[in-house]
């Protein structure tokens, strides 16, 4: 049985709307929600938490239908992009606020708040007012406030996007550690693919109120079902193991074939590798000049025509990845499904993420 199930959700708020949304998550899943502005991502979170009543459809959490349940009974936490800290409370009171409802003993309350604050490295800020904190600190206070009540589900609306790159990296590490420790199920809206790669195991892509594709990282990143999704998710991600790290070159074994990358890694390390589809060139026969490049022999599994370009799915052993080619190139090369082709990828375009 699924942990969270969303069935045929419809919500119309005029400017923002959702239509026919079906989603299901298992306990401990980390779902990244992607999509352009106005896709309805935020109102999806706000329907799950109970601030909007859907026009149609049901939401189940741990088998219980929560569609009509009051927000305060759902035990779902939320973190917003601008953190929405309570300005008239201190940091301590902000974090303690939710716990005060059920924890009446002052000492236990204080202890738990300090523990949570220590885990997020904000214990030195407890007496301050939120307006005096930096963005990264406010973000951690918002996270502490949501996590301290041990929500069944944590929703985050671009929690890292207002931070500078360095703080964002640290915050992401911290977030990952904490989420894994508590085994919290998370839905995280983001525009940053780094968040997706580092944190998520499932991905959902929205556009104009509709869920275009939902699945595991592998399904969505390797087999985008539409050009829009392919563009949006960009790179294909492979998981592999570094077999040999030399001066400036890493050789990575991915599902039985070898990729060469210019990025540095340690021998024996498990890594994720990203390749953008536009950096893959397809040949019908083995290219002659291929020094310092990857040439991969693959089977052309499927050709999907989309306007002026084609989406090709190439398969090597059990790994599938996609490539964009112009329509006339497909004709010129006389490509057919089932053909053996050669994919050429420059080593500098194989990025370890």
């Amino acid at each position: 049985m699924s942990f969270l199930t969303i069935e045929d959700l419809h919500l119309n708020l005029g400017e923002f709307f959702l239509q026919e949304v079906f989603l299901s998550l298992q306990k401990g899943d980390y779902l990244a929600v992607l999509g352009p502005t106005g896709a309805g991502k935020t109102i999806l979170l706000e329907s799950i938490i109970g601030f909007w009543k859907p026009n149609k459809g049901q939401i189940y959490l741990e088998g219980e239908n929560i569609t009509g349940l009051l927000p305060e009974k759902r035990r779902i936490g939320i973190v917003y992009q601008d953190y929405a800290l309570l300005p008239h409370f201190t940091v301590f009171k902000n974090i303690a606020y939710g716990l005060e409802k059920k924890e009446k003993k002052k000492e236990t309350l204080g202890k738990k708040v300090r523990e949570m604050a220590a885990a997020l490295q904000i214990d030195h800020l407890l007496h301050r007012k939120p307006t005096t904190l930096s963005g990264g600190e406010q973000q951690r206070v918002a996270l502490a406030r949501a996590l301290i009540v041990e929500p069944r589900l944590l929703l985050m609306d671009e929690p890292l996007s207002a931070l500078d790159p360095r703080t964002r990296r640290d915050a992401r590490q911290l977030l990952r550690r904490l989420i894994q420790k508590q085994n919290t199920t998370v839905i995280h809206i983001t525009h940053d693919l780094d968040d997706v790669w580092a944190l998520a195991n499932k991905v959902a892509i929205f556009k104009q109120g509709r869920l275009l594709q939902f699945g595991s990282m592998k399904e969505v990143f390797h087999r985008p079902q539409t050009r829009f999704v392919a563009d949006f998710v960009g790179a294909t991600i492979f998981e592999g193991r570094v077999v040999k790290a030399e001066e400036g070159i890493s050789r990575i074994n991915v599902d039985g074939f070898e990729l060469v990358s210019l990025d540095h890694a340690e021998t024996g390390e498990n890594v994720k590798v990203a390749i953008r589809p536009e950096n893959i060139v397809v040949f019908k026969s083995m290219p002659t000049d291929a020094s310092a490049q990857n040439v991969i022999k693959a089977r052309l599994q499927e050709i999907m025509s989309e306007g002026t370009t084609c989406l090709l799915y190439l398969k090597i052993n059990d790994t599938v990845f996609h490539v964009f080619v112009a329509n006339n190139a497909v004709e010129r090369l006389n490509l057919k499904e089932g053909d053996i082709v050669y994919a050429l990828i420059k080593a500098c375009n194989v990025r370890i993420v």
Binding site: F51, P71, L86
Partner: protein, 251 residues
């Protein structure tokens, strides 16, 4: 040029306000301020003003919140009707209230439960209440409009009911708006003349509040008394505006 223009009007206003102090002699004020009529009037004004303000805020807070937060059938209608008295002449409002509280079933029922609003001190409170309420509702609505509803969402996601959230989050965050609204309401209540005159009547030492004192004494030609009540009213409004501006800066 515009600055000169602005100063011209400000100066004119200042002269008008100053004239009341220039014309009144200290002797006049000293004699009249402790007269039994003035003491009665001041006391009644303060008591009715405080009661009315408390009632106004008791209604304006939830109504302002409702108008700011919820969309419901007939909201536009409610807003128009509650706003109307702002643009309504006070005398007309008084007349309407007089008719309603007079010999209608509403008036009869209220009389029956002991609330006689016509030509009584209770009527003073009723008149002040209906005059000041629209202003208070407007200020409260715009105060709540400025508070991010996501603050309330978060409180509810953390296990607090809508009412608890209102008490814990919305009210404290609306603090300066509430103060401003209270002060403006009090100033409106104290200063209301037309509505009080029509509904409660302007009877000497009975329903006589400060504006009524001013009016009655002008008609008798008793300028000293009229000026004194004018000055007292002006001091009250000045204090109100002063507190209001302080509250705004504090926000």
């Amino acid at each position: 040029m515009l600055i000169v223009f602005t100063f011209f009007i400000t100066f004119l206003l200042l002269m008008a306000m100053g004239s009341i102090f220039v014309v009144a002699s200290w002797e006049d004020i000293r004699q009249n301020i402790w007269s039994p009529e003035m003491r009665f009037s001041l006391r009644l004004s303060m008591i009715t003003g405080l009661i009315s303000t408390a009632l106004v805020m008791f209604f304006a807070l939830p109504i302002g919140y409702t108008l700011s937060r919820f969309d419901f059938w007939g909201k536009g209608f409610v807003k128009t009707i509650t706003d109307m008295p702002v643009a309504f002449p006070e005398l007309v409002l008084g007349l309407c209230l007089l008719l309603l509280f007079g010999n209608t079933f509403v008036g009869d029922f209220l009389n029956f439960v002991g609330l006689n609003f016509v030509f009584s001190q209770k009527g003073v409170v009723a008149a002040q209440f209906f005059t000041a309420l629209p202003y208070a509702i407007r200020i409260m609505k715009s105060t709540f409009d400025y508070i991010d509803p996501r603050m309330e969402f978060i409180s509810r996601s953390l296990g607090y009911s809508q009412f608890e959230t209102f008490l814990n989050i919305s009210l404290p965050m609306a603090k300066s708006g509430i103060l401003a609204s209270t002060v403006i309401s009090f100033a409106r209540c104290i200063g209301t003349f037309g509505t009080v005159l029509i509904l409660a009547g302007g009877s000497y030492m009975k329903t006589e509040v400060l504006p009524i004192t001013l009016y009655l004494n002008i008609s008798y030609g008793n300028m000293g008394m009229a000026l004194t009540s004018g000055i007292v009213l002006m001091v009250v409004s000045f204090l109100a505006i002063f507190v209001f501006e302080k509250a705004e800066v504090g926000f």
